[in-house]
Symmetry: C2
Subunit: 263 residues, 2 copies
Amino acid sequence: MDEASFLEGYDPRKYPAVAVTVDVVALTIRDGRLCVLLVERGAQPFAGRRALPGGFVREETLDQAALRELAEETGLTPGGSSAEEDTAGGHEAGSELDRVHLEQLGTYGDPGRDPRMRVVSVAYLAFAPSLPEPTAGSDAARAYWVPVDEAKDLAFDHDQVLADGLERARAKLEYTPLATAFTGPEFTIGELRQVYTAVWGEELHAGNFHRKVLSVPGFVESTGETTARGGERGGPKPKLYRAGDARLLHPALLRPTREDRVR
Amino acid sequence: MDEASFLEGYDPRKYPAVAVTVDVVALTIRDGRLCVLLVERGAQPFAGRRALPGGFVREETLDQAALRELAEETGLTPGGSSAEEDTAGGHEAGSELDRVHLEQLGTYGDPGRDPRMRVVSVAYLAFAPSLPEPTAGSDAARAYWVPVDEAKDLAFDHDQVLADGLERARAKLEYTPLATAFTGPEFTIGELRQVYTAVWGEELHAGNFHRKVLSVPGFVESTGETTARGGERGGPKPKLYRAGDARLLHPALLRPTREDRVR
DNA sequence: CAAATAGTGTCTGTAAGACACTATGGG
DNA sequence: CCCATAGTGTCTTACAGACACTATTTG
């Protein structure tokens, strides 16, 4: 049966129900460590286990569903989590949420990934600047940031989803300027380098990194300012930069040569 | 509502029905042109319009659903298209279908993309070696290969899906050896170059391409043989190669420097 | 002052692209 | 014989990484 014939004679009640959810791999950097937002599950199955935040898709686009879930779990956008109406139109002028990068990661739909029914989950990947612990807010009390190397044994197939998200994030830092999505609106080259070292888990040569970043057109642009103070343990006041207008890095910033080209 | 609370009190009948389909962007190269597999729609909506092959997801993984749709539309795997049982277990030892590369492309789920109900479609991208026109087979009579630059005004949001698939394919040729998925099991460097020019739509310098391909470890390996005859308009008998064991090209084969790093 | 960081200079190996050239075989 | 293609040589430019070095600021 192809799509055409399916749509001709389609009757929803003839087929087993399928639920569509979104799950979000939200990454941020806290204290120099790459962290992911997790929630504690209260109910079966996987009660007590940690899981990626996510939920049912309503009358909205998939992107909107992912943004809504992220907002609810981080407690960032004041948009009420109680409203049951169509959220397609508006959530209030979000604060830090506007600086969050959100993209689709992949879709996970193996039969049996949820023991109770067929659930197809569209996973999203989010890059966020350092955010406050979400416990402050209302109903997001069960969510918290966990260093990615401590995020194991997640519910459902979320270990795999997280692994896919991390690999995507590492690859994206190579050829896009998305590292700036982890920083504030103004940042130093050193802060940018810390993003790379946190995500890649590898030390980078400070001098070469500095020159490389400035040589890629459109990656960063100078604000003309410097920080008010030098580093905590000394050093000159570094210059401040903004994200540039490039959407692709050319030439790319390749990860340290893992001779391990996968065979 | 997050996933945890959704799963606690979930009742499928409380929510509007959602259908999940797979659609396949199947690409091949015919007569030096990049072509996509399309089907003619017989029923409303979009009757008479062309669309990507696809269909309803059954009790199977999403990957299996995509492979099954592709098999049915190309008429390649003898596996019956009439069987209604669980296909998770087996399709017969497929012929050319084993050489097809299949990967998930993305998921499209805007409300209203199908005028009758909420349909979330998981799109797949397939790279196939030159295949016979599928009209030969049974129920695949409505499917045919169309040069991608003539594939316009497709049904649903398939123009967008196709565009995303093409961009993915072009990018993948840069850093993976997937160009070999478009060729037969043995190929010449010239044939491989034709894959690149067809997909990228750009001429490549034959000499530099030749040296570059051979210099990337694991991209191709020599069979020690040459073709039986030279080119149609003369020339030496080129050597034959097989796909190597690399899964990533290092260093990558970058597209001709579009100074247009996207801004 | 000591230590740490920002930022620059320089050198080396590798890779990409431009161009030229030889060799081979079909029409 | 003509011409297109296979395959190689060489040169120039660009870039990545290693290393060294100076300057600046905090404790």
